[in-house]
Subunit: 191 residues, 2 copies
Amino acid sequence: MTSYDRSMPAQPYHHGDLRNALLAAATEAIEQSGPAALSLRELARRAGVSHAAPAHHFGDKAGLLTELAAQGYELLADAVRAAGPDLAEAGIAYVRFAVGHRAHFTVMFEPGLYHPDDPHLVAARARADQALSAALAASAPERAAENELKLAAWSIVHGFAQLWNSGSLGDRSGEDPATIARAVIGNLLRT
Amino acid sequence: MTSYDRSMPAQPYHHGDLRNALLAAATEAIEQSGPAALSLRELARRAGVSHAAPAHHFGDKAGLLTELAAQGYELLADAVRAAGPDLAEAGIAYVRFAVGHRAHFTVMFEPGLYHPDDPHLVAARARADQALSAALAASAPERAAENELKLAAWSIVHGFAQLWNSGSLGDRSGEDPATIARAVIGNLLRT
DNA sequence: AGAGCATCTTGACACCATCAAGTTAGGGGC
DNA sequence: GCCCCTAACTTGATGGTGTCAAGATGCTCT
């Protein structure tokens, strides 16, 4: 019997679950100030450990962001799959993910921040890519072979999400990105 | 008679044109390693000046990136205007700009890196926004009032450009982004 | 020639990432 | 029940970075 038990993953050592605590703190910090302002020492301080503790779990600042990006691709794949066989709904799920997980999304598409060849990451990315292709195939099977349609659909939801997240669309606080995204996607998918 | 004369802009002091030299060096460095790896001291070293010289011209690292972003919006406005009254051509010009000025484009849409309220920056951004609206009005005057169409067009070219620049589209070296962009945009603008 | 000022340098401080070496604590074998 | 082994973490040091304050330099204009 350990002094405290967790039903969580696997590392109930000194801290209990430092690895996940660091990832959560990094997510929060990136949401507030962007990935450029991220500091491993600040994360360690928030978690109550020494300044070099993060390096043990992630090796590197880029290692931590690699893990964040991989998590992001997994979450994205799940979100798109859960949206069902409708391409427009898959697109809205994409936007919802990007806005709801701004930190993950930002890191995922800034490959200079992490180790792009990490196996966990490339597997997760492939899973997300398959989810997008599956949504296309389920919704428009006769056009599934057209690479341009997939690229167009991906581009429009990705572009909208990034414009929204970067604040380029002006002050739209109060509005729901998903409903606006629905109207925007309508411009692409009208038959 | 000065010891050396330059027909260039306006600051032929000690260095000659340190301000522009720093901006050019920053552009190159960001193109190679992304904005996160940018170092003012490294820029100063490349320009052959002391480590605190950049601060005098830009006040701040964010100040330098503010100037880069403002320059980017000016260049983008010019490129879109030069494309003429066709919306598809304007979109292709947008993609060309994003790929050809990767550093500017990256910084422009990462507002955490610069001072978003700088007057030069907001003016340049407004000019670019007007250029996009003008392209829409000239190409489809009857639908110029539809905000969703502008948003859809902006989203699709912005998304494609960012996916291309981030390497998310796989290894497409040798292919021309503009021709692929033309096919992608065709999915939106077919009537 | 001399005043004024933008340009740049020097030096310092705090913060940061990363590495090497040491310390702590749990789990498995005897 | 003890011991060793290993994962988890700490401590300390090094070199790099942004930013600030104060001083030096040299063009320009009167």
